[in-house]
Symmetry: C2
Subunit: 121 residues, 2 copies
Amino acid sequence: MDVATAPDIHPPMEFDEAGAETRDRIVTAEEATQLAELFRLLGDPTRAQLLYALLEAGELCVYDLTETVEVSDTAVSHALRLLRTAGIVASRRAGRMIYYRLADVHVRMLLDLSREHLRHG
Amino acid sequence: MDVATAPDIHPPMEFDEAGAETRDRIVTAEEATQLAELFRLLGDPTRAQLLYALLEAGELCVYDLTETVEVSDTAVSHALRLLRTAGIVASRRAGRMIYYRLADVHVRMLLDLSREHLRHG
DNA sequence: TTATCATTTGAGCATCTGTTCAGGAGTTCG
DNA sequence: CGAACTCCTGAACAGATGCTCAAATGATAA
């Protein structure tokens, strides 16, 4: 089998001392909504292409990114703003160009793992 | 139609010994679209709550799942159908009840990693 | 059989989303 | 200065999305 042993839990909504590890696994409705927001941002073809281009290249300016997708530069800019506001990508200015990169290692792992799911799942 | 405009990004197409790993990292536009479809399905508060409930409990019937969210049982059923069709969850019938579970270990890892991103990212 | 339970399906609809268009802001250089 | 370049913002609109309602299916029990 695999890593995750099936935890058949039908727990009451109480927290005893022994439930530390279990409690860490519980995701509240609010957390789930925040997680959905993260997934929603990854869940668009344009944005996904931009993110995987960044995963591959490390850092790209907007012009480079517009060449990876088939929408206008304006659409790319809108997409990048959403990703930047959500903390999924980060940017730095260099002259008139602005370079984008994936914000943190979690995002990189997420994209990487998802690609594995697609290819070997 | 044939929208396969090339992934002709910066690096030249040289594949030496170490190039195999590099090649595996390249995600085509079509793959990115498939990945976006996966993320899109996770990117809804109702569906995310259902999935994290399944991650926690292992297996739940529809009635149990309706109690984890604040929408009608009909909405839950619609949500589950999307997830089932996409291969994100699997189901088995037991009497008149139908039990749902996460389809594979990749999905579990994806949900787990995302939760870590939210809490420690 | 009929009744009831558990879940699904289809339709209708208000809301949300991603796009393009038009214009604006910031930067470099002649 | 002004022109060229890179990127961003706001508005408007077609299309997608997720919800509820009404009805239907499949399974158990009386």
